[in-house]
Symmetry: D2
Subunit: 420 residues, 4 copies
């Protein structure tokens, strides 16, 4: 194992979390306006708890737990580790304070430094350290998603930062034909796909053969302008394109546009972003649409969502070496158009809903113990998204990465590709 690389990854990850939290006051870091959107402070503590629980406590000799109560407060869902604080109540924890959480992070960092330098004795332990970094990267994206969701409940509509999203022209929608047949999908350590650094979550494997038919995939995600056409054509007011449960939700929730959109008195559509409320950029990829909205749009457009295997196979074979994409490193935190041609924006900009329910790959076996609850426990009533978004840490996503959300949620940065 490359200890120095792990140390570097650890430090870079931890530093980046702090950087993302920096624009937020202690008050900002405490709020939770909806169950799904955890406080910033909680993300900072929970990611530290992961290292403390799975690495420091079992494997660092003499490690002193920072505060025993934290295991109760900052466990997310690992039922194998005992009782935990009610998720919906995370916003009520004014104490421990943000300062105490910072001290907790430093305490864990100090322990991890010792562990990485002197006690990284097994591959398993090294793997856990790397897993902890990728886990924290996921929470970096959640931190950004969640603060936008939480700010959105404030009539003041606070801005996280003051960064304008650059505009580009989207170009017309074109299609790439892809041959089917028996193809391999999924991650394999021995033959990593492009755009990965050798790591993958357990749910990305085993690599296995699937049978695909010939298909076409759109070269870029659906744009806001195209979505607006759908809206203007009665997309949200007629059930014909919708799944039954989707239409029921449209009626019950009063959906008339993607999450965060609002029509101003002069007819303009605006959208709430990390930079506050701005005009909708018609060329940028649409995001914050649920699976059922994406499915209805595809139906309306005479197309369909690709399966996750179709997406992955096309990306591997026709996407070329994916550019770094519009991911979090750019610091924009919003999708933009890519004016080039050919299959593009595979990584970054928006997560792309696929038609695939989230299920185990053949032969999938979760890791034993509580850490194995990471992915497998959630394989129910969720749909797979691919490709990462503008909030995803650079190099965190890859072509085999399987993100997943329930079909009706909208606070994640989800857009859609089209297939036919």
């Amino acid at each position: 194992m490359d200890v120095q690389a792990i140390e570097g990854a650890y430090e870079a990850t931890r530093t980046q979390t702090e950087r993302l939290a920096a624009p937020l006051s202690a008050e900002d870091q405490g709020i939770q306006a909806m169950d799904d959107a955890s406080p910033t402070k909680w993300h900072r503590a929970h990611t530290s708890w992961f290292f403390e629980t799975f690495l420091l406590q079992p494997s660092l000799p003499g490690y002193q737990v920072f505060d025993p109560m934290f295991a109760f407060l900052f466990n997310s869902y690992y039922v194998g580790l005992g009782e935990r604080h009610t998720r919906s109540n995370r916003g009520f924890i004014s104490r421990p304070s943000v300062s105490e959480v910072r001290a907790y992070r430093e305490h864990v960092d100090s322990g991890m430094q010792k562990l990485l330098e002197n006690h990284l004795d097994t591959e398993a332990l090294a793997d856990l350290a790397i897993l902890g970094c990728h886990h924290e990267q996921q929470h970096q994206e959640l931190l950004l998603m969640d603060i936008k969701a939480n700010f959105a409940w404030n009539p003041v509509e606070p801005a996280y930062h003051d960064v304008a999203t650059p505009h580009a022209d989207a170009g017309p929608l074109t299609w790439t034909s892809v041959d089917g047949g028996i193809v391999e999908v999924g991650f394999d350590q021995a033959q990593p796909t492009p755009a990965g650094d050798g790591f993958a979550f357990d749910n990305e494997g085993p690599r296995h053969e699937v049978l695909l038919r010939d298909y076409e995939l759109a070269d870029r995600p659906v744009t806001n302008g195209e979505w607006l056409e759908f809206m203007q054509d009665g997309g949200y007011s007629s059930p014909s394109h919708w799944l039954s449960h989707g239409w029921g939700t449209v009626e019950a929730q009063g959906w008339t546009a993607p999450e965060y959109w609002r029509q101003e008195e002069d007819g303009r559509w605006t959208v709430f972003t990390h930079a506050g409320r701005v005009d909708v950029d018609l060329d940028a990829p649409v995001q914050h649409v649920s699976f059922v909205e994406a499915d209805a749009y595809a139906h309306w457009a005479g197309a369909r969502l690709p399966t996750e295997h179709e997406w992955e196979h096309a990306a591997v074979t026709h996407g070329g070496a994916p550019s770094s994409g519009n991911t979090a490193g750019r610091g924009i935190f919003a999708p933009t158009a890519d004016p080039s041609t050919g299959m593009r924006q595979l990584l970054g900009d928006v997560w792309e809903w696929t038609a695939s329910p989230y299920t185990a790959y053949p032969g999938f076996v979760p890791a034993p113990g509580a850490v194995g609850e990471y992915n497998g426990k959630f394989m129910l009533d969720q749909y797979v998204l691919r490709g990462g978004c503008s909030l995803t840490p650079d190099r965190h996503t890859r072509l085999t990465y399987r993100n997943f959300f329930p079909a009706l949620t909208r606070w994640q940065a989800s857009g859609l590709p089209l297939a036919r």
Copy 2:
């Protein structure tokens, strides 16, 4: 087309519905104790409304609608046909009475007789007539499911009939090995699978190739006795085998056994059936378990649920010519053990949960218009069950039949097969 066969099927179907309703008083036929479980009267009217709406109104010259209000009251979910009565309020409709519903059925029967004899001019119309019969057969099963569910809310625990379920020995669980490879699944009119009469719902096709790995399938469903072992081993009290949302439901609902089970003061387990409350037969297949319970059991047993393709392929290649099975024609309305050996009980006894989310087969296109809402609109957050149960009309099910329910419901007669 064989008009006489259609007439025969129509009459047989309609008569059977009346036969199933016969043991129930007008009062019994009106109750709806939970949203899912519609009143018997509603099933009798809704199935008639289907023929009136899709056949008589458009295609029988001079047909007079029985009562225009019925289209509002007895439409189930066809949003393409306008507003409909709130599902949860079906139990409040004391008028029209059961007598009026009988008159409605006779009015429709009279119209259908004319239509079938003199106006069955197109294949499309003949197909609709056949579809109407199969639709009504589905509601025959629902009628039986629902009256049990509705009676179960009555502390008196009424019995639908007075029929004892015969006991048989289940025999040990054995396994059949099945070769994988590229195999065909799904219905094709030109090459129907065993145990079908040439009809299939749209969601069973197109027939297509899938790629399977080698696998083993258990020769019979899991029994009540085996389920009791799971319970006694802490199945309902430890989260380790459960999907996250499943365990949350166990805790929230207080599940400790399958639906309708109750432990008596002397420790015996009893179960509410169409014949009232009886002792649990340890050899009979377990039923009224949800997908998440089935999945947890399989995990506990060191196995898994088969995919729907695995189930179908094994059934076609290793099931032999399925016997008629324990379906509704036997009049028992409860599953029993089959003491023979080899792969058995594929059709009848209990619906078998598969691991497969309910999605469209490649190339699936729903029928145009409101009748196309029949299946495709529900392809979200549901899981496929195969094989029929003791309530399913004889010859209604077949090896390509795809039933589907949400992962947490339990009022359907669902059990489970095992694979590994």
Copy 3:
């Protein structure tokens, strides 16, 4: 005691209940569309259970309980008598059937006949028999209220009977001045107020002195026409006249008119009645308004609701000998105007909201045992209504009668008087 009179009252009461149920089919008698509105069948059984429980079981030698399960099913709220069936599930009890409930009534009648003839040994027992009759009379009114409420959920809008409500002119609103001072209110056996037959519920006493200021009371209830003026003046669209919680309910429930009113496409207002949907009679007293609506109206009209003591004192001193009034004996089951002058419509037509929260009179002591739960247990968050309505049995109400309902309910026949 006058045994013959009690026998006569018993028989008359029991017969009247059956007469009220007669227009309703077995199906009609089973429905419960909202928690508050019990099925007709339940009322028929519950009133019998009262006699069985409080008289026959303890006091009729050799009495055989009809069915032990009925004590569970048909107890309403007497917690002193053990577990009881969940109130909201009364509509699910298709068995026992209406026929069995009739047999239950006959069984109880047969027992009561024996008890009244041969075992009415104590005053306490005679009092219980009389209480049972008045209890059943209350349920006669509830039966009529509830069937209207239950029918109202049916889009068919069934009619209970076919009786037109006679129209009369209301005349202008005039006022009667009443002197205050120390006055006596409440029931006293030794000096019954006009319009009573010597019986009163425990909550009407003890008779006691209260201190009143001089006041004026309107000579008749507020009419539909006057209420329409309130509506047209923005009564339901501006918070200024409303109690805070009332206005919150207006917004949450979308109230724009009294319960059962509907504005037709041509602008007319119609109202659902026991005779089906009819035009609103502008001269008739308004009914089916909640306490908070009545309070808002009074505020808008520059008046207020009288206290219950003001109402009673004015009725006793200025109402003259109240005529029999428009009560259930007329068979109309809807209020009408009384074209005479002077203080009128004190008894019958509509229950009149008073400003008085429902509390115990000084020195009130409930009867010991379960029968004492009759009234005192409900002295919380309810408001007193006086005078009876068009559904109240003749001679059931009287000037000291204290009816009570929560401030937000509207299914009772409640209107309002005005004071200032």
Copy 4:
């Protein structure tokens, strides 16, 4: 008018609010764990908004509103003043920050200083200034109630301060006999009762005559020790002493003790206080019991709650000149026993539930305009409490003061007196 006195009261009130908030971090000041319990920051801003809205905007020439959005965020319920922020979402407002709220307070203070010095032109304006001070005093008590409630949701159980509650012996329960007759109650500017400073809320008048019977009032509130006897005698496990709705709440909420109590593993009872969790002091007055609990206790004890008029009359005639009492000035924020004899603890320690529903006194007229929504809008389904508690600002309460809460709430510092 005494301008200097008003200036003094204003400054003292504003300073005291800041003093109460001082122990709380910015994070602490933002949380709202239940709808009833507003954030500290909100209280600080809302009280400033009151002065800005009702005094500065209309009456200070040239006054610049601090931030127009604040009128939306910090209006509580004054519907006459337009839309306002949803109450349950107050905890999501991380911005404006605590610092901005402090700046807002200073801006308002600066305006008020000018207004009080130079523009206090009318009695009406002076009255509004005084009203604003008393309004802010009410929120001082709410601030203390609410932070305890909000902290209680944190498993860490933070302490607001580190102040031990002194113990004293309660002495046995003794009774004082009070003569009835026609007595005067309520506030009259011309003849203020003891323990007031000349101010009263509108709901305390008009002073008027009431008729009382002779009665006895207990000389001190019920203690924790006495409450424990009630608990040990099955108070929370038998319905016999409870109002129907109260018992339903006991069962639904699982109440087994007053709010904030907990039984430790060794059997001891502890209670969460502003000083963290401490042992229950058996001699101290019980608090945090709802009206229905207080009523059940009184019933169990063979007594009853006094009416508010009985309480006031006894307090005026037999309470002597009430001592300053255990109010907020002591800084304990918890009730203690008073070891003296005779009628005592009338003011301070715990609010005392009375049997009186909260209704308007005869002739009550609310102030015109939005400020008139202060009290009268809430006269529905609430019960009157008298006397103030350990959190009430010194000299804020008085013998005519009418506090009010719904019958089921427990987060206020409510105990009970007994009458018979």
